[in-house]
């Protein structure tokens, strides 16, 4: 039984949209970071699906997704570290309270 590539792409698209929606609307900074991870995982699903069922299936997609995962981990680590230093000074993780600069 084979599943057509479009269903993988659809899952990835839905995941990407949920991630984008979460990143743009959620108030909690940790959830915003998690939403970005969702978007990056959508990319991984895409890459791995294309590596098997793409126009020219080959291994590069899987290699690319390994790089994506690694870089996403580094980005999440840095993001959380910055969030902690922000929390130490402001005692908040609410994104809409981070508005000191426009005033």
């Amino acid at each position: 039984m084979s599943i057509p590539v479009t269903s993988y792409l659809l899952v990835a698209l839905i995941l990407f949209c949920i991630g984008l929606y979460g990143a743009l609307t959620k108030r909690n900074a940790v959830i915003v970071l998690l939403s970005i991870e969702l978007m990056l995982n959508a990319v991984n699903i895409n890459l791995v699906a294309f590596a098997k069922y793409g126009m020219f299936p080959n291994i590069s997609g899987q290699i690319f997704s390994l790089f994506t995962i690694t870089v996403a981990a580094a980005e999440a680590a840095v993001g959380l570290a910055i969030l902690i230093s922000l929390y130490r000074n402001r005692n908040t993780v609410q994104v809409d309270e981070m508005d000191l600069m426009k005033r």
């Binding site: 959508a42 895409n46 294309f50 997609g61 790089f67 840095v78």
Partner: protein, 513 residues
Amino acid sequence: MSSVSKWGNLAQYDWSVMSPEFIILGVATLLSLLDLFMNKKADRRILAWIGFLGIIVAGYFVVRNTGQNVVSILNDMYRVDGFANAFKLLFLSGVAFVFLISLTYIDESKNIRYSGEYYYLILTALLGAMLMASSSDLITLFVGLELLSISSYILVGTRKQHIHSNESAFKYVISGGIASAITLYGMSFIYGLTGSTNLYVIAERLSSVFYDGFDFLVYFSFFLMFVGFAFKISVVPYHMWAPDVYQGAPTPIAAFLSVVSKAAGFAIVLRVFLISFGSLVSFDMETGQQGSVLVNTLSVYIAIVAAASMIIGNTLAMRQVNIKRMMAYSGIAQAGYLLVPFATLTVLMFEQTMFYLVAYLFANMGAFAIIMLVNRDQKTEDLKSFAGLYHRAPWMAIAMTFFLLSLAGLPITAGFFGKFYIFMSAIVHSSYWLAGIMLATSVVSYYYYFGVIRQMYMRPGKTEAPLKVPASIGLVVLIALVGTVAAGIMPDPVMQYIHHKFPLQQMFQPGGQ
């Protein structure tokens, strides 16, 4: 291929072309180790000088690489061509300026506690930028992009006790994360359509895919990637992070973001889109004529983005009272001007972009050096901190005037010719509306650039005490001033130099090893 080494193919490559990157990597590693073993209280400025030396040596090797033929190793994952060398020299000189500005910045104000990591993170960011300039494979381009981004997230937040710095770093991480996810999503479709991450293979296969009814996906991935890269060059769909981040970042890092990071963004935009989309041809069924998709269709959207950046950047800059926010909006507008050659795609596209980037490098680095000096002295980032600067440090005021004139694009500065060339490219392409918007927004920009000049010469300051200028800042301002005026008086030699030493055609020769 006769001698078989135990390293296989790896031993066949000419690794010496990578020496600029190896030097920067080595110096960054050395600095991190030195920082680890140094006494906690010891002065970290020695690290800055070692880093500075490393940049000079790397610059020497880049100069040695220029004018050579294309060298490509690891199946085009790394290549040395005119395009790469030009951008690398730009990055290296930008980071050298940033180091000189940082020496004074960190020396006096104790707000960066761990200055060792500050220096080597700039170097890793530089390494990422250099990889972005000299790779033509989506994977390595992406890794370079993220190396630059992640290093700069930390750099923006290095003032750990400073609440604005924390906030701007977090905003930068969030916007950067979303941008890289969008870029990657676009790249994943490009990979899926062509089955390769090599830009030359993508270019070969994209046309046939385009005909096979996947033209929507091709456009879709173009726009996704463009929006993601727009974050790095801070143009309109993705520009809102810039003012907040520049305001919260340490001033030398704001200078770094506005010049080096932005130039790296242009490097990746030009590299990816010119190679992989440059040969994409569409076929008009009714007239039977062939036309380049990049020139006919996509350039219109790029021109709209450029125009919107100019309008939004310049109008919002007028309302700012914080000088760093003003420079951020000015940077958005400048990025808009820089996109015009890419939208019009004349023969001299690369020379025009490069000349403008060089002019922008000198003017912005000089301006940020003086901004740092004045802000530190007055303990405020308000525009009013410039009041009476002419009576306190006349040479600084005069130099700042030249930098602002160059950013505004007025004669006897490099910025004038930079804008002139770009304006001519829009005229040649008969994009009169784009040229008109460029002209109109330039006039608007005089308002806020001259606002600073008015403060310096015509407003009384709080104090008349002479402003002490440290040697490193003096050096940055001197070099930037000489560069701005020299390229403004003799633009032709600079254009000729770029044209002969950094031929763009080399970019289109696949290495194919």
